[in-house]
């Protein structure tokens, strides 16, 4: 039987584990790379809370936008953003919110 004994330290590579956990506060980056990468303009620069880590890790969307569908993988998160944060003057209920999937490279810890 081969098993990882408690004396062996497995060091995980960068990006192998999600950098954020549920409840973390984040800001969505303001960047304008060329290509198709699934971060709507309206959400950039807004602040939200990580609701959930999405399993399994997925292909980096900025790579995928150029047809590179293999290799580097990373984490998507469901990020909750209050509609009052998104739209100044939002006149619905104050607890209304948007939840959106954002790739880890677009998230900044705050």
């Amino acid at each position: 039987m081969i098993s990882a004994s408690s004396t062996i330290q497995i060091v995980k590579a960068l990006g192998e584990e999600p950098a954020f956990k549920a409840g973390d506060r984040v800001r969505i980056s303001v960047r304008y790379p060329v290509g198709h990468y699934r971060v709507p303009i309206y959400i950039r620069g807004k602040q939200g809370i990580i609701e959930k880590i999405l399993e399994p890790a997925a292909v980096n969307n900025e790579e995928e936008g150029f047809g590179r569908n293999a290799g580097l993988k990373g984490w998507y998160y469901r990020v909750a953003v209050p509609l009052t944060e998104l739209w100044p003057g939002y006149d619905g209920a104050p607890h209304d919110r948007l939840v959106i999937e954002i790739f880890e490279t677009w998230l900044e810890r705050i």
């Binding site: 699934r38 709507p40 997925a58 969307n61 469901r78 209920a93 209304d96 919110r97």
Partner: protein, 212 residues
């Protein structure tokens, strides 16, 4: 020349307009892919057949089962894709499915602001309004007004939770089971569940379905 000597009791038959820019591009790319033998016409036809075999009835079955079977409901909420696969609903693409449960405190609404992401394996093709810009833009900005235009009034103490489906995950709303359906069979319940209820623009009510 064709003869055209009958009385005109039908509207004028209008020829299809010239194909647009993107239609021509799609035809050109498709023909190139076929010519280079990357895909075959049979494969394209088969994928259309796959899509056409997916209808709202599949999603309605899943919802009705969740209403009558608490263990299935728990599995569905934990992993939407795996639970649908129990029904033989295969996911022919790389998408996952998250099922969003409506409660007395939360009403879920689904949109894809970037394009037309939709839980096609479970619901088939989306309605045209779902793909149109007014819905896509307004669902994230003034969801209560959009819902009101569908005839759906959500009280202010209920949270509206809009899910913008932009990447690898698709969403399906699990509506609330309407009151007065205690004695309904699973089939009768499924008949009440409409496409719009699983997108979240309406609630399920007894008047919508055939099992009134």
């Amino acid at each position: 020349m064709t003869t055209h000597d009958h009385d005109h009791d039908h509207p004028k038959i209008i020829d299809e307009p010239m194909p647009g820019y993107y239609e021509i591009m799609e035809t050109a790319v498709r023909e190139l892919l076929v010519e280079k033998k990357l895909i075959s016409p049979g494969e394209i036809r088969r994928q259309i057949e796959v899509l056409d075999s997916r209808t709202t009835a599949l999603g309605a079955k899943v919802v009705a089962r969740a209403w009558v079977d608490p263990e299935f409901r728990a599995r569905l909420l934990a992993n939407g894709r795996a639970a649908c696969e129990e029904f033989g609903i295969s996911f022919y693409d790389d998408t996952q499915l998250i099922v969003l449960e409506n409660t007395d405190k939360v009403h879920n609404l689904i949109v894809c602001t970037l394009c037309s992401c939709y839980p096609r394996p479970v619901l088939g093709l989306p309605p045209d309004w779902y793909k149109a810009k007014p819905y896509r833009a307004r669902a994230v900005k003034e969801p209560r007004k959009v819902l009101a235009e569908f005839g759906t009034e959500i009280p202010d103490d209920v949270e509206i939770r809009v899910s913008d489906s932009t990447a690898t995950v698709r969403y399906l709303v699990l509506p609330q089971r309407p009151a007065g359906t205690k004695d309904f069979t699973e089939e009768q319940l499924a008949a009440l569940v409409t496409r719009d209820a699983m997108i979240g623009v309406v609630k399920v009510n007894l008047e919508q379905g055939i099992a009134v």
